[in-house]
């Protein structure tokens, strides 16, 4: 694939250097950069909270911080990581950058809405940071009533407002992607020629558009009850505190799929490229993502097995949870089978993607423990749950996010980074992650509750192991900051297709022109046609 002649045009990064041009840009690629910078900042704020939590848990008594501070730390860690990092992570950065490029379009359908969604995100994040500076919030990221509405005297309102505003940013991004993928595909790019990353973005967008409004309504109800004493959740006013949990998890369970489905898309692109093979069961992979998005709406009650909801409701939710696990299991088998008869090389993005498969597998398997009603009673609200969802949301989603950043870095920045350092970072992250979170499964089954700054002495050994792992993990996360920044100035210039990958985004220059393509590309083949490429290469 020869690169497109640049002519005299500047790429999107060099088009205009003024700050104002960035803050008013309608270019989806620049908005993706704005998002990347913002969420990276919040990732390290949320990560610092996690570091303090792990340090404090080295000893059974909360010696580093007071218990009030500890409660605020895990709340801010959760609020920031869930709403201001994980949910926007892949869709708003890689998705924004890649959706138009991968389908051969000039931009998203609604560039102004796209910029608006970034501003909404920033305003939401400022509210969250304001609540932190003002003294913090101590409700946990779940804001359970009646604690959040009537008992906590911390800055709940500011945090809730931030989450509420950021929700609209999600909705606008989802809407934009759905319309773009329907309407703006290049000639010849039929639905089953779409890269799985696009299918992932499509499935994720459906969840964003359908689930996020429920969160917004719930937060409005919380505020209305808090300010006007209208009984919705408070039993003293005739309300029902479990109603809050139903509404909250109706959003927040699908939100897990907002985090993991994009990661599945990224992993599929990377594994296909570095195994030089078509994705095994491509159509099944696409359908599985849609199935996960749809069934994901029907399993919220598995967060409430011991909440007091009826045993019959619990039974139905348990069964549905097992059913939604089937497509997830199949995806793991399909990624593995994609390696079969490939030509595999282990550049850094591939190491991240394989790491994703491994950690997602453990996260998925431990999810089955939790779906089992009788067993969940023992595991619920213990460190087993904490370990499980970190394997999915951090081991899975963040590993894939880093993989994606490394895979498309040459396209985004036009520079190559040091593959050796990147491979070291991927391996250190994988090892550090397991050291941090695996011991938590064991201490969870022993009964250690989550959200405890103090714990019985027999749990200490597992906490010390976990905290030691966190040091390795932190190293793995900080390392890329150095070599990636280094590459911006000193890295070799990237060719348009450094990985010899399939996909339209690799057919334009690195970095792309502001209008992406000089001529609208025409698609004539299936995605991941690596085998054909191999035979024609000889």
């Amino acid at each position: 694939m020869s690169s497109v002649s640049l002519g005299h045009q500047e790429n999107y990064l060099a088009a205009d250097f003024r700050l104002w041009s960035w803050l008013t840009t309608l270019d989806h690629k620049r908005i993706a950069i704005l998002y990347t910078v913002s969420i990276t900042l919040l990732f390290f704020i949320g990560g610092s909270a996690a570091a303090l939590i792990r340090l404090d848990l080295l000893t059974p008594h909360s010696e580093l911080v007071s218990i009030e501070t500890y409660n605020k730390l895990f709340t801010m860690h959760g609020v920031i990581m869930v709403w201001f990092f994980l949910i926007p992570s892949i869709p708003a950065t890689l998705g924004n950058f890649l959706v138009p490029l991968m389908i051969g379009a000039r931009d998203l359908a609604f560039p102004r809405l796209n910029l608006l969604s970034w501003y909404l995100y920033v305003i939401g994040a400022l509210f969250a940071i304001e609540s932190l500076i003002a003294g913090g919030v101590d409700t946990g990221w779940t804001f359970y009533t009646p604690f959040s509405t009537l008992f906590s005297n911390t800055h709940v309102f500011a945090a809730v407002t931030g989450v509420f505003i950021a929700g609209f940013s999600s909705i606008l991004t989802g809407l934009n992607f759905i319309v773009t993928i329907h309407e703006m595909r290049a000639p010849g790019l039929t639905w089953f020629r779409l890269p799985l990353f696009i299918w992932a973005m499509y499935a994720t967008s459906l969840i964003l558009v359908l689930a996020t409004p429920v969160l917004a309504m719930t937060l409005v109800l919380v505020t209305v009850e808090h300010l006007f004493r209208i009984g919705v959740f408070d039993p003293a006013l005739g309300g029902d505190p479990l109603l809050f949990q139903h509404l909250f998890w109706f959003y927040s369970h699908p939100a897990v799929y907002i985090m993991i489905v994009p990661a599945m898309g990224v992993a599929s692109e990377i594994i296909g490229c570095f195994a030089r093979n078509r994705i095994f069961g491509y159509r099944f992979m696409a359908y599985a993502m849609l199935a996960i998005a749809a069934f994901g709406f029907l399993v919220w009650g598995h967060h409430m097995f011991v909440s007091g909801q009826s045993a019959y409701a619990g039974t139905v939710f348990s069964l549905l949870t097992f059913l939604v696990s089937v497509p997830s299991a199949i995806k793991v088998f399909n990624w593995t089978a994609t390696l079969y008869k490939g030509r595999i090389s282990l550049e850094a993005p591939m190491l991240y993607a394989l790491g994703f498969v491994g950690l997602f597998t453990i996260g998925g398997l431990t999810g089955l423990f939790l779906a089992s009603l009788g067993l969940d009673v023992q595991l619920h609200d213990t460190y087993f749950v904490v370990a499980h969802f970190h394997y999915i949301m951090v081991g899975g989603a963040v590993m894939a996010f880093f993989g994606g950043i490394h895979f498309w870095w040459p396209k985004i920045t036009g520079r190559m980074y040091s593959d050796r350092w990147a491979r070291i970072a991927a391996i250190v992250t994988f090892i550090g992650f397991n050291l941090t979170f695996f011991p938590q499964f064991i201490v969870g089954y022993l009964g250690m509750p989550r959200r405890y700054p103090e714990y019985p002495p027999e749990f200490q050994i597992w906490n010390v192991l976990s905290s030691s792992g966190a040091i390795v993990l932190a190293f793995g996360y900080v390392l890329p900051l150095f070599y990636l920044f280094w590459s911006l100035r000193h890295g070799p210039r990237a060719p348009s297709n450094p990985w010899n990958a399939k996909g339209l985004e690799w057919q334009t220059s690195s970095p792309p022109l502001p209008e992406n393509f000089l001529r609208t590309p025409v698609v004539t083949e299936e995605p991941y046609a690596y085998a054909t490429q191999r035979s024609s290469d000889g």
Partner: protein
């Protein structure tokens, strides 16, 4: 930190079933995770870049058919395993939530940040719960403020404790000793201090404990005193002039309501009738009962319930 624990003690009748489910999942997970890991490593080595191993023919129909067979196989096998595990763990769950009829009730009130326990005999404890070995115990629990959760890892039981309603949890102990108990639903500042210990004692020790901690009255007697003190008896007694439901034999019966609904007269119904009297107005009665919210606390409420339960034997059926 002296010794390494991997599994909690098993001290209740359901603990071994729950552990069996856990061990089967552990075994299955280990097999799947190791198999996938081994396959990935094997493929990476065998099909590494530059190797001369065979490549797939891109559009071979036999290859396509084989692929479909593989996909159907690895869809159906996990599905079958999941359904079997679902059936097993759901059965265990129903066992763990169905309170046996011979259970001895003990009452629990959670509040920020301590647990009040009250035994039917009137014995009160804070953050400690003494129970006789081998006896089936039912905890009837409520919260005075936010949501708490009552968890005893050694017994494999856990149940959220909510304001405004009663939840129950039962266990049958199988060994004597001290067992940790935690609040596992985050409830504010001192959540991590809302912990306690369950003391499982053999029959003799338990009887001496009951005697040593004896109080002037049983819960029902204390409830009867409250019943008079708050003026309940003024309306709800045989010789009252006000038209109010009689309470003898009420507990456990089905009550017909004015709006056509029927409810079972359980703990929650009694509590709601006292605090939210307009919520469930019985048929052929006027909604004239005042609310006692803010006057009667959760523990007094439980004592009144225990008193109303004790009125079981007298003149059945007058409440209809």
């Amino acid at each position: 930190m002296e010794h390494l624990e991997f599994f909690p003690q098993r001290a209740s009748s359901i603990a071994s079933t729950i552990d069996d489910i856990y061990f089967v999942w552990l075994g299955l997970s280990a097999i799947v995770a190791l198999a996938i890991g081994a396959l990935i490593v094997f493929f990476i080595i065998k099909y590494r870049k530059g190797s001369s191993s065979p490549q797939p023919a891109p559009d071979d129909p036999a290859h396509e058919r084989a692929m479909h067979r593989i996909e159907i196989t690895w869809t159906l096998i996990p599905l079958a395993i999941f359904l079997a595990m679902f059936a097993w763990s759901t059965r265990a769950y129903y066992e763990s939530v169905t309170v046996p009829p011979d259970a001895m009730p003990i009452y629990v009130v959670g509040k920020q940040w301590m647990w009040h326990i009250e035994h039917p005999g009137g014995q009160r404890e804070i953050n400690e719960l003494h129970v006789p070995l081998g006896r089936t115990i039912e905890l009837v629990m409520t919260s005075q403020d936010v949501i708490h959760s009552f968890s005893i890892p050694g017994f494999r039981v856990k149940q959220d404790v909510l304001p405004g309603r009663y939840t129950t949890l039962w266990f049958k102990t199988t060994r004597a000793g001290d067992f940790r108990w935690f609040c596992t639903q985050y409830c504010g500042t001192a959540h991590s201090q809302m912990i306690g210990r369950v003391v499982v004692m053999d029959a003799n020790d338990y009887s001496s404990w009951l005697v040593a901690t004896q109080t002037p009255g049983s819960m029902a007697e204390l409830g009867a005193a409250s019943f008079r003190q708050f003026g309940c008896s003024g309306c709800h007694s045989p010789n009252a002039t006000v038209h109010a439901p009689r309470l003898e034999g009420l507990f456990g019966t089905t009550v017909q309501l004015q709006d056509g609904r029927t409810v079972v007269a359980d703990e929650r119904f009694i509590r709601d009738s006292v605090f939210l009297p307009n919520k469930n107005v019985p048929q052929s009665y006027q909604p004239i009962m005042p609310s006692f919210r803010g006057q009667i606390d959760e523990q007094q409420m439980l004592e009144i319930i225990e008193y109303i339960k004790s009125l079981q034997s007298v003149s059945q059926g007058v409440t209809q």
